[in-house]
Amino acid sequence: MAGGNGDALRVVGRPQRKVDAVDKVTGQTRFADDMHLPQMLYGKLLRSPHPHARIVHIDASGAEKLPGVKAVLVGSELPIPFGILPVSQDEHALAPDRVRFVGDPVAAVAATSEDVATAALDRIAVQYEQLDTIASIDEAVQRAEPLIHDYGDNGNLHKLINLEFGDVEEGFAEADVVREDLFFYGGNTHLPMEQHAAVASYSADHKLTLWSSTQTPHYVHRALAKVLAMPASRIRVIACPNGGGFGGKSDPFNHEIVVARLAMKTGRPVKITLTREEVFYCHRGRHPTLMWAKTGVTKDGHITAMHFRTALDGGGYGSYGVASTYYTGALQTVTYQIDRYKFQGARAFTNKPPCGPKRGHGTPQPRFGVEVQVDKLAEQLNLDPAEMRLRHLVPPDSLTANYMRVGSIGLKACINKVVDGSGWKNTFRKLPEGRGVGLACSGYLSGAGLPIYWNNMPHSGVQLKCDRGGGVTVFCGSTDIGQGSDSILAYIVAEVLGVDPFEIRVVTADTDLTPVDLGSYSSRVTLMSGNAALQAAERARDMIAPEAAAKLDVPRERLVFAESRVFDAENPEHAMSFAEAVQAAEAVVGTIGTVGSYTPPESAGRYRGAGVGPSPAYSYSAAVAEVAVDLESGIVSVPKIWVAHDVGRCINPTAVMGQVEGSIYMGLGEALMEDMAYREDRRVVHKIPSMLEYKSPTTLEMCEVETFLITDPDPNGPFGAKEVGQGPLLPVAPAVANAVYDAVGVRIDEVPITPEKVHQALKRKAKGHEARYGPMSFPDIPWPDPTRVPTPAEGGDGTTAVPPERQH
């Protein structure tokens, strides 16, 4: 384990306030829309009312003539495409010739007030030629015309993946039981309370500053430089504290580029704040995913082979979709041992708001399928589902069939905690009809092993400065989206230097001032920026310690940095203040400043596609959900969820609790109600772009949560810490589905589990039909030839097998 100052931890592991807690409870936190600059203008975007259309002509002269309008912008002025992934540079700040979903921006204005800007939008005349739409995965599979994008693997199929690790057919032949199941996980959205906002300012010396509610200032910086064709060195991106992100503020967005261009055009600061309706159109939420899973097991539940197919409804643009598609196949293997594994994934372009990364990014959907299928297998084998899982956990420090390197795995303790805590043995299959319990598990990344664009630089950097007054400032590109990443930096530095975390200044998410951190996504920040901060702090301690030791005349190895002092471990009264220690060192070595950086270990897989899934460490979760199902209406209520999460080590247990409870909440919303619904006609209009109609759990739907934190320090984490922000969401939906089956004997193989679906399944059961609600077929997808990778057990080295014809 890295870090430490002697054996005792004084900050790490203790409940603390977050360093920004007082600002947040006093309303002083400055979110992007709270910014106001002198002479600031207000920008608005005109969005397409059509799901798919060619732009024939735009006449903006009416808007330009309106008093108060200072600039009008159309797509031809920003012709360079962008996108979060290098392989999907398919977006434009304003559509130059084609719109691909209702809400796709086509023009923008900047005016002296929001009222004038809104009125100006009505005076922009856009002539569209409507095109036929692709509204579903099935349509995308069936029709290559109209083609939504002129790139992709096959017609309107954006991405096709076919990976095989060992021969699954051989595995199915060895199995005692083989099942095939179909599942569907509906689309849902992040719904952060803060509507996205951005403010841009352009100075007469050609420097651009953008303040934005973004989770990824570094990627926004790159996108701005590209689209505006400006040197990145003239652009400064500052991520304001995000009023919730959950993945929804991880892409560079149209409005961020438009607001910058409007500021450049007018020479005045400009602000764009999206309406709630527009936030629904930005989306980038959970991909609706159809799944087919075939799994073979021996009598004791050992999985000899799994073949998993996914089809994702991607919406109108690429976004993170290629990565999302890989993620629907990457982490099936990190919980239970799977001898042979095959994954086929497809992402379709459709004329809907683009899907992207939402909390759990591409993994809650397959995890739902795996955990419900395991529940069905356990029943077929007459095994307790908890016991079946416990028997076949992935061992620590091992490589999975698809070359995910699992380090620490606390899943056994997680399962035992929720089984004991919930009284599982007395409730499972033992509760009266209408009440039930269900169990599910999961594993998740502590940061993606590879960056979004290929480079060999660190993923996170920290600079640290100690001043003569004993003050410490930490500079890091990481972005606090409410998860507490600023606090993590302070706690870790405070632990190493022995100072009070609340006396540390934290400067983050500013591309001018802070070293790059790739962003707040993939649960990477505690592990990666935490390790960078740890290294910087240790280097600072190493700079200060020799001079402090000399001054105190104590051997260096006996020095302790704690309580804002530096003292002799054997005689704690023999001490100097931390400030005096800094002064002693500064007198000898000069200014006390250090850097730290973090690069994840190399991944084990070397096949094409091996870049998605590897992580320095995986967190694990187990959950038991208790449900009550009304047999008349099909209404499912969830009174309680027991959850255990293996976080490696808690840097701050109270903050960890908050992430667990928040994940359970968001998972419950996905399990029961949240749904991005579109009208079923060819208009592909979002049915419900409002917070009233997009149902999310209020205090009245939220369940009681009993949380167990499992600490099993991982050697790759700072002080052993792993992620907690996303993993605990994953087991919720399958645990609820399994509990519904326990309660009323119907399988709901589809999320969200709405009363209509339960009611229909109950009706079918009453008629003696299959007691199930879920998809009935999987489309016939033109899969490419498989990439065959021998498993580690077969002696593979992570590379693709050489096809037999090329061996000689």
């Binding site: 009125a119 309370m193 009023g243 919730g244 109270t654 917070m691």
Partner: protein, 179 residues
């Protein structure tokens, strides 16, 4: 939103009390209390999540009652008393609700927090010892996407106990989980 932005509606001049201070402000008559507070008075502590009365983020107290400031016209506040998040603390001393929210991590991103604090303050003013269910009922109109509400309930209960004069501390389970 005005359809004819060029016909500038004449501003109305309104006197009201904001966080205990007499305040005079002039604004277009269609402006909401939310807009008046944030844009005309610079009190950006009050947030917005929908501007349609759906999320509870913009709650302020109007004559001590919680209201959705996005649905209240500024001119209707003439002569009345408004309390925002900026007015909860007693100078540099935080209100017990603010202390409890900070200690328990009931504010994660902090965006919905002002609305929750003011709704909870009104609740505790009327019911000093609310049950968990009464807290849930009172807060049912405020959405939070970060916390799952649990730390918020615990913070309201802790603050309520302290406001009743009890020497209450956070429960071990709220800080560390079940052990």
């Amino acid at each position: 939103m005005a359809n004819s932005p060029n016909k500038h509606a004449e501003k109305v001049h309104v006197s009201l009390t904001v966080n205990g201070e007499h305040t005079e402000v002039a604004f277009a008559p269609h402006r909401t209390l939310l807009e008046v507070l944030r844009e005309d008075l610079g009190l950006t502590g009050t947030k917005h999540g929908c501007e349609l009365g759906e999320c509870g983020t913009c709650v302020v107290l109007l004559d001590d009652r919680p209201v959705l400031s996005c649905l209240v016209l500024g001119i209707d506040c003439a002569g009345r008393s408004v309390k925002t998040v900026e007015g909860i603390a007693d100078g540099p001393t935080l209100h017990p609700l603010q202390e409890a929210f900070a200690d328990l991590g009931a504010a994660q991103c902090g965006y919905c927090t002002p609305g929750f604090l003011l709704t909870a303050e009104a609740l505790l003013e009327e019911y000093p010892s609310p049950s968990r269910d009464e807290i849930k009922q009172a807060l049912a109109g405020n959405l939070c996407r970060c916390t799952g509400y649990i730390k918020i309930y615990e913070a309201v209960e802790l603050a309520a106990a302290r406001l009743r004069g009890e020497a209450a501390e956070p429960k071990d389970e709220a800080l560390y989980g079940r052990r």
